[in-house]
């Protein structure tokens, strides 16, 4: 039994048919084709699938797809502005804040949710904002530094 879902993805109107009970992660990847969102646990414990829904960080694997109708979703694929990278993306590159890269889209979205709401976060704010995202490679410090860099304007929009 499929249900239509219509929403805005990174500023564009999109639509798909979702199986009953399908989660937003599966709809974004398989039905819509946004492969920038990754799945790590499908249990709500790793944060890899973090997206923004109406500006708020949410786990796409824990979100029933049909609850997304009419809302606005942002993923890592929508971060850059044409050829220009988002300051967070530049900061991650400069700080070597990724190794395998799998947690990176989720980290970027969790960080964006923070900076959109709080442009001058303390280190504690950053740690709390990333507290739901697991990284198995970097030891987190380069990521924290990258977010602080992006907040302070240390990383310019390319």
């Amino acid at each position: 039994m499929k249900t239509p879902v219509q929403f805005r993805l990174n500023g564009e109107d999109v639509a798909a048919f979702a199986e009953a009970g399908a989660n937003l992660l599966d709809v974004l990847r398989a039905a819509i084709g946004d492969l920038s969102v990754k799945g790590g646990c499908w249990q709500g414990t790793c944060g890899t699938c973090t997206v923004l829904i109406d500006g708020v960080p949410r786990l796409s694997c824990m979100t029933l797809a049909e609850t997304i109708n009419g809302r606005s979703v942002e993923t890592a694929a929508g971060l850059r502005n044409g050829a220009d990278l988002h300051p967070l993306q530049n900061a991650f590159m400069e700080r070597f804040a990724a190794q395998c890269g799998y947690c990176t889209p989720g980290m970027l979205m969790a960080a964006k949710a923070l900076l959109d709401r709080n442009p001058s976060p303390s280190r504690e704010d950053v740690v709390d904002a990333l507290g739901g995202n697991i990284c198995r490679c970097t030891g987190y410090e380069p990521i924290i530094q990258a977010v602080l860099d992006a907040a302070s304007g240390g990383a310019r929009r390319a």
Binding site: V37, K38, G40, C46, A76, L85, L88, M93, Y102, R136
Partner: protein, 542 residues
């Protein structure tokens, strides 16, 4: 950020370096921050099918019967894969380099040997359909006695875990149940030692927990070939293993790896590709076999737990004169890479220290646990943890500073190691000195002046009585000629009957390089036709 201590060993190096020491951006970094780095699952295929496996709930049991008739009729099911469908249903990863005997099935047929062992595969139009169909499969098991402890497993009368290795130990060179190291006389060493300390160390299995779980997608291509997108860390291992298990030539497989979402050793076992390929062959459709997070954590192979017994004899002046290590690797139910881990462990004993009397036995043991595999320096890192704990205890026992204790015992260039190879290019002394400096850990001047390049060789390991070595050298003068030995690759393969390598003469002259073990000639019928050579394994068993 990065500090390079270029003054150390400066005379041995050309520091005109264009890459080392410079921060170079990763070639995949732009892909990572834009979410465009392609992991195996970042490909979409029309008509993709999904493979999930039924897993044994028992650690050890005989399979009496399997009734999958209800599952076969379940909605969305395209194919059931049974043990009899697997063309070559017994394998070991390192058979690709002729090391070890095939011992692990892709799907258990008569006996399950660990909780979670795959018994049956279900291919369906969605993961949900596959999981629901698997719930309809009825398997009758007769539980068998199981063993979970490495020392229990090698006692006479213990349940036999692995049909290929009935006594629960891996077989080296066709007849030995362990790796053995002998250098000098440890018992004499203990007898002469001022203090003897022994202890036992136990590691837990550790799950790699990569953020991306193991998985692969096999896609029928043209010309009877299959493209396989995989999370593997070991692309050619995976390709060749999938070819062997499917009994197809390897040139029918096109494996595409690349970006791995975290491996750490947990993606070397070729866990998903063989059955994914088989499923694609049996259905004619692209098939994805992806481990759930629960499967990854519970059934994905961990670093094996190791039990390490260390007995040391130390003199009050700080010299370790004897070390005996007995180590048991818990390989779980099947070999995978633990056979190799034990070899590495034996090669690492007694650690980076010159000890005149060394003995070791290292066992690769089978238990009814999840089969273990590689992880982050497996075979070495756990042993180092045990050795370094032991070093601290020894230093404490004789009232010596633990850093000075290590500098004293660290190997120097020219020392004879327990494996009868001369130590070369040593640097532990300098590392310890810099670490002490960085940690503001005071060490005495004589230890700050010590050097890896002096005091080694016959001065330390010479003489019949190896327990009587001279006291630590004070203020050694730097050698006029550094004692470096150049290791040249022989121009032509040595004849098979080359003499066994002899230890270099005990002198302060630079010793000639020990002859390399000989390369065996190509054997007829060897599956790959290439010459197999490894200084790790020595003579080829074939």
């Amino acid at each position: 950020m990065l500090e390079l201590r270029k003054e150390i060993f400066a005379d041995e190096r050309d520091d005109n370096l264009s890459e080392i020491g410079q921060p170079t951006q990763r070639q995949d970094m732009l892909g990572h921050v834009t979410g465009t780095s392609a992991f195996y699952d970042d490909h979409r295929f029309a008509g993709l099918l999904h493979l999930k496996v039924l897993r044994s709930p028992h650690a050890h049991a005989r399979i009496r019967s399997i009734d999958d008739s209800a599952a076969a009729r379940a909605p969305g099911v395209k194919r059931i894969i049974r043990a009899v469908d697997v063309p070559v249903n017994l394998n070991t990863l390192l058979s690709l380099i002729q090391f070890g005997k095939d011992d692990e099935p892709s799907l258990a047929s008569d006996v399950v040997r660990y909780k979670g062992e795959p018994v049956l595969g279900m291919v369906a139009t969605s993961e949900r359909a596959a999981l629901e169909a698997l719930r309809l499969v009825r398997v009758a098991y007769d539980p068998l006695p199981a063993v979970f402890d490495v020392e229990e497993a090698i006692k006479p009368g213990a349940p036999s875990v692995n049909a290929t290795y009935a006594k629960n130990t891996f077989e080296y060179y066709g007849k030995y149940d362990h790796q053995n190291l002998r250098f000098g006389d440890v018992e004499a060493g203990f007898a002469q030692a001022d203090v003897v300390l022994e202890d036992r160390y136990q590691m837990s299995p550790i799950e790699h927990a990569p953020t991306e779980t193991n998985g692969s997608i096999a896609v029928p291509d043209t010309n009877g070939r299959f493209i396989v997108h995989t999370s593997t860390q070991a692309l050619f291992f995976s390709l060749d293993t999938a070819a062997k298990i499917n009994a197809i030539p390897s040139n029918q497989l096109h494996f595409i790896g690349g970006t791995v979402g975290g491996g750490f050793g947990g993606k070397v076992d070729t866990m998903t590709e063989p059955l994914a390929v088989l499923a694609a062959r049996l259905t004619g459709a692209p098939v994805r076999y992806r481990l759930s997070r629960h499967e990854e954590m519970q059934f994905g192979s961990p670093r094996g737990g190791e039990r390490i017994y260390i007995k040391d004899g130390v003199m009050r002046d700080g010299r370790i004169v004897a070390r005996h290590v007995r180590c048991y690797f818990d390989s779980g139910a099947y070999t995978r890479l633990s056979s190799y881990a034990a070899v590495k462990c034996a090669a690492h004993i007694p650690g980076p220290y010159t000890i005149p009397n060394v003995g070791a036995e290292v066992y690769c043991v089978f238990t009814n646990r999840t089969p273990a595999t590689a992880m982050r320096g497996f075979g070495v890192t756990a042993l180092d943890f045990a050795l370094e704990c032991q070093m601290d205890k020894l230093a404490h026992a004789i009232g010596m500073d633990p850093v000075e204790f290590r500098i004293l015992n660290a190997y120097r260039d020219g020392d004879m190691k327990a494996h009868r190879r001369e130590a070369k290019n040593c640097a532990l002394v300098e590392c310890a000195q810099v670490a002490a400096e960085k940690a503001n850990w005071p060490i005495r001047d004589e230890f700050r002046r010590m050097s890896s390049r002096s005091g080694g060789g016959a001065a330390r390991t010479g003489g019949a009585d190896r327990t009587r070595a001279p006291a630590p050298q004070a203020a050694p003068a730097p050698a006029a000629q550094p004692q470096r030995v150049t290791y040249e690759r022989p121009a032509a393969p040595q004849p098979a009957s080359a003499p066994a390598p002899t230890p270099p003469p005990r002198s302060t002259q630079p010793a000639p390089p020990p002859p390399r073990p000989s390369a065996p000639a190509t054997t007829p019928g060897s599956s790959h036709g290439a010459r197999r050579f490894s200084s790790v394994f020595g003579t080829r068993r074939r």
